[in-house]
């Protein structure tokens, strides 16, 4: 599919959420798209995401949340990353991130204010997301060198 270096990404569903179907699809898709995927599966804590990102030297953490508690679960993830020395890791969030039907722009603004680099609705086109991810990682890599 997309050509380029096999950047490492950490994937998981945060909090007490056990929605596993999309997680399995994302794993298969991003692996196919040439990423090295460290998939933590469902019910992943903030620190488990960070541990895995440190251990695997990952460029990005992709956080999924389908069950509505995303707002509580994702708060403080960026601060915790910085606290633990992950200064430049990309944070993506996607899914049904809040309880109820609220305009996506509002949700996106909320999560960006929490330190997420990109925020996606459930209907996101995965090819487009993979292209954005690769571009964001490359930009971050060049910014550092």
């Amino acid at each position: 599919m997309t050509a380029g270096p096999p950047y490492t990404i950490v994937l998981g569903v945060i909090g007490a959420d056990c929605h596993s179907v999309g997680n399995k699809i994302l794993d298969a898709f991003f692996t196919d798209a040439g990423f090295r995927v460290v998939n933590l599966g469902v019910m992943v804590s903030r620190d488990e995401f960070i541990d895995a990102a440190i251990e695997s030297d990952a460029r990005a953490i992709l956080v999924s949340s389908l069950y509505g508690h995303g707002e509580i679960d994702c708060a403080g993830l960026r601060e915790r990353c910085i606290e633990r020395g992950l200064d430049s890791v990309l944070l993506y969030a996607g899914g049904n991130l809040v309880v109820g039907k609220r305009p996506f722009a509002e949700i996106e603004a909320k999560f960006k204010a929490m330190g997420f680099d990109r925020v996606f609705p459930p209907s996101v086109d995965l090819h487009a997301a993979a292209a954005l991810l690769r571009a964001d990682i490359e930009e971050a890599v060049h910014a550092r060198t």
Binding site: G15, A16, D17, C18, H19, S20, V21, N23, K24, I25, A28, F29, G41, V42, M43, L66, Y67, G68, H69, E71, I72, N96, V98, V99, G100, K101, P122, S123
Partner: protein, 482 residues
């Protein structure tokens, strides 16, 4: 852990420990709870509602609903009762409570109060305790069921049953494998034997409580035989502990013939297995779940998915239907959207209630027969693995992949089975993992999938599975290439 009735006296030490897991547990007093149930009006009895539905050939409508605060929850349920016309009511439990994380649920309640909107995805019944739950029971005019996804629901059952709830969803397999990551089946089955024994105790005191294993499992292209086999096993495990009112579930697959055949097979085969195991004193009913997979975002299209499910449930003569909402693609609905789902369902159910279509034609007979043979293959293997003990058999069967639920999060599920639709949209098995199907059954699935591959001019592949998972949300049943 084995398939034997728990001794009520021996269970008391365990009950004491369970009731200490959160401070609200201390308010559970069984004698008082039994007296409270006896004082409840008959129209709040779930088992009675299910009996009346079966006798009167009615299909009961039930939404899903739960919000963190008691007053808001009552408002929501009353709205669904009056504006939605729900026949029986739910209380959907939040995800922290489902994982026994009561401290986090407490924080969710505080934040929801402070921010004036719901930050939990359900009603934290353990935190609200017996008194809080009774406010709900006393405020609504319909029977109430606890709906959740809890591998260890012992404390939740103690509190909600003591509070006057008369139905409890779940089971040791169906509320573990699709709902947890690393809970051993030995543990969840044993903890659900406790729940079933507790229900059995209420039954012994003359208080009827309905139990409902969760049929749809992961809700994603689950072949009917897998859901039906697990439902029958959970039914056997429940009856063993003294459950009398049992509702088995089935999640809509999308192909009309397959859905009708599966419901027909489930009803007949479950009764056969229960009778064969020596149970006679039980009341069996069926619940049909409208499509549990991904929904279209467009509300008009979502209504169509809801309507198709309503039609199938009515034609399948289910006793109850669990209703979705036009907001399904976006997550938790508003009360208005929830009521709309109920009203859309009611229209179709009423139009179809006096109609019947025969299951006695070739395609239906063939599919129903196939599902029953598949279920028999699975159950024979579980029975052998447990040397006659269903509970032990389940643990070994999952370890060996003889039972395997597609797309489930649990590490105790092999996850080697991949389902896929055939050229008419029937859910078939593409990769069977270690499912103990006969050669004939395997060949039938293979041939049906080859037929689709030829029609689509592409090989049978994982891409087709992905396409099928998203097909309904994109407006079709079968994920064909465009």
């Amino acid at each position: 852990m084995s398939s034997t009735p728990l001794d009520w006296k021996e269970m008391q030490a365990e009950r004491e420990k369970v009731l200490q897991e959160w401070p609200t547990g201390k308010d559970v007093h069984l004698e008082e709870a039994i007296a409270y149930h006896r004082g409840l009006p008959a129209e709040k009895s779930f088992p009675l509602a299910m009996r009346k539905a079966q006798a009167g050939k009615l299909l009961l409508l039930q939404p899903r609903a739960g919000v963190p605060l008691i007053d808001e929850h009552i408002k929501l349920l009353k709205y669904l009762e009056t504006e939605g016309g729900a026949d029986v009511l739910p209380t959907t439990i939040d995800a922290y409570t489902r994982q026994n994380r009561y401290a986090e649920a407490a924080r969710g309640i505080e934040l929801s109060l402070a921010e004036r909107h719901a930050l939990l995805n359900g009603f934290p019944a353990v935190n609200h305790g017996v008194e809080g739950c009774r406010k709900v029971v006393e405020s609504v005019g319909r029977p109430l069921q606890v709906r959740h996804g809890t591998p260890d629901a012992r404390l939740l059952a103690e509190i909600t049953l003591a509070a006057g709830f008369t139905s409890f969803e779940g089971g040791g397999i169906s509320y573990n494998i699709p709902y947890a990551k690393d809970v051993p089946l030995e543990k969840s089955i044993r903890n659900w034997q406790y729940v079933d024994r507790l229900v059995g105790f209420y039954e012994e005191q003359g208080v009827a409580i309905n139990r409902e294993p969760f049929g749809p499992l992961t809700g994603t292209l689950v072949p009917p035989c897998i859901g039906n086999a697990i439902g029958i096993i959970e039914g056997l495990l429940a009856l063993e502990q003294g459950v009398k009112s049992l509702t088995l579930g089935y999640g809509q697959g999308g192909n009309l013939v397959q859905d009708l055949a599966a419901m027909h097979a489930l009803r007949a085969q479950a009764a056969e297995y229960f009778h064969e195991a020596g149970f006679a004193d039980f009341h069996l009913t069926l619940v049909f779940h409208q499509w549990m997979g991904g929904f279209p975002e467009d509300e008009a299209k979502a209504f169509s998915v809801i309507a198709l499910g309503a039609a199938v449930a009515a034609l399948a003569k289910a006793e109850k239907i669990i209703v979705k909402t036009p907001y399904e693609a976006m997550g938790i609905p508003t009360k208005e959207a929830n009521a709309q789902g109920l009203r859309a369902t009611r229209q179709i159910v009423t139009m179809l209630q006096d109609q019947a279509i025969t299951t006695d034609h070739e395609a239906m007979r063939r599919e129903s027969g196939l599902i029953r043979s598949e279920v028999k293959c699975l159950l024979d293997a579980v029975y052998r693995a447990g040397e006659g003990d269903w509970a032990r058999g389940v643990v070994r069967a999952f370890a060996d992949g003889l039972l395997d639920v597609p797309f489930a999060p649990s590490i105790y599920n092999r996850g080697k089975v991949l389902p896929m639709r055939d050229n008419e949209g029937f859910i078939r098995v593409f990769r069977k993992g270690a499912l103990p199907f006969s050669a004939e059954i395997q060949e039938y699935h293979r041939a049906r999938l080859e037929e689709r591959a030829r029609a689509e001019r592409r090989p049978v592949s994982f891409q087709m599975v992905t396409d099928d998972i998203y097909a309904i949300s994109k407006g079709r049943l079968i994920g064909r290439p465009r």
